[in-house]
Amino acid sequence: MSIDSYRFLDFATRQVMKAWAARQQAGVIPFTRLAKRLSECTVALVSTAAIARNDDCPFDQERERRNPWWGDPSFRVIPLGTSESDVRLYHLHIDPRFGQADLDVVLPMRRLTELAQEGVVCRPAARHYSIMGYILEPDVLVGQTAPAIAERMRADGVDAAALVPA
């Protein structure tokens, strides 16, 4: 693997992330080949930047401050057309200012719309999603949040989803 993105991290964070990567066991990896041409696909995006609309419930930062081993495992729907002025980023482990200045840095819905206009994909989904990326114990994320997002994607006729870590 030639990409070394650890180089952007401070020493302690780098060591912790390397230890977690070494300990993970992927198990059986779910996989479905793309059944259509990319140009025929409806595509949805999932950001881990903890984006919530201003008229929606924020991600729970207070509970994480009380118990730093915990991270909010819920998700938010981000409808297509939502812009940076409609949202806030509630992630205590990233610099939220970049995504707050330009939402496409973390959830590229406008870029996806442009790629649809170019014919690279068929269309962006009507709904996109955000979760919060700091989850040390992923039981709720895997058992409840991911299925709930998948159910909405199926209802929207989504063919492919891109997870965008922040």
């Binding site: 990409i3 952007f8 230890a19 939220p96 200012r97 496409d104 922040a166």
Partner: protein, 109 residues
């Protein structure tokens, strides 16, 4: 951005990019750069024929790692970093993944 961590959790297919955290698509207002990254990422989809397909994207971050880190200098450290700074012995839990449960933490308070 941290491809070996993402890969380790078992994603079906992965596009790795050498960009700093917080800016996975690139810098704010660089629409052309962001579009190129998204396009290259989505183009992995039809190429991936088996699980654990990993493609490294060729994009190069325009700043040094030190400069990229400095851009976020004013951001307060995450709660877990504050905690292990105050109680360094808990770092062993963080390394090993032995997560203290909330009821235990509350009982100690």
């Amino acid at each position: 951005m941290i491809p070996d961590l993402t890969r380790a959790v078992g994603v079906p297919r992965l596009a790795g990019i050498s960009y700093p955290m917080s800016r996975p698509l690139g810098n704010p207002h660089d629409a052309e750069g962001q579009r190129a990254v998204l396009r290259a990422t989505l183009e992995v989809l039809p190429r991936a024929l088996e699980p654990d397909t990993y493609v490294e994207l060729p994009f190069v971050w325009p700043e040094s790692p030190a400069k990229a880190r400095n851009a976020s200098k004013g951001i307060p450290p995450p709660p877990i970093v504050e905690l292990v700074t105050k109680k360094p012995w808990l770092l062993a839990n963080l390394y090993s993944g032995r997560i203290p449960h909330e009821e235990v933490l509350c009982a100690k308070d």
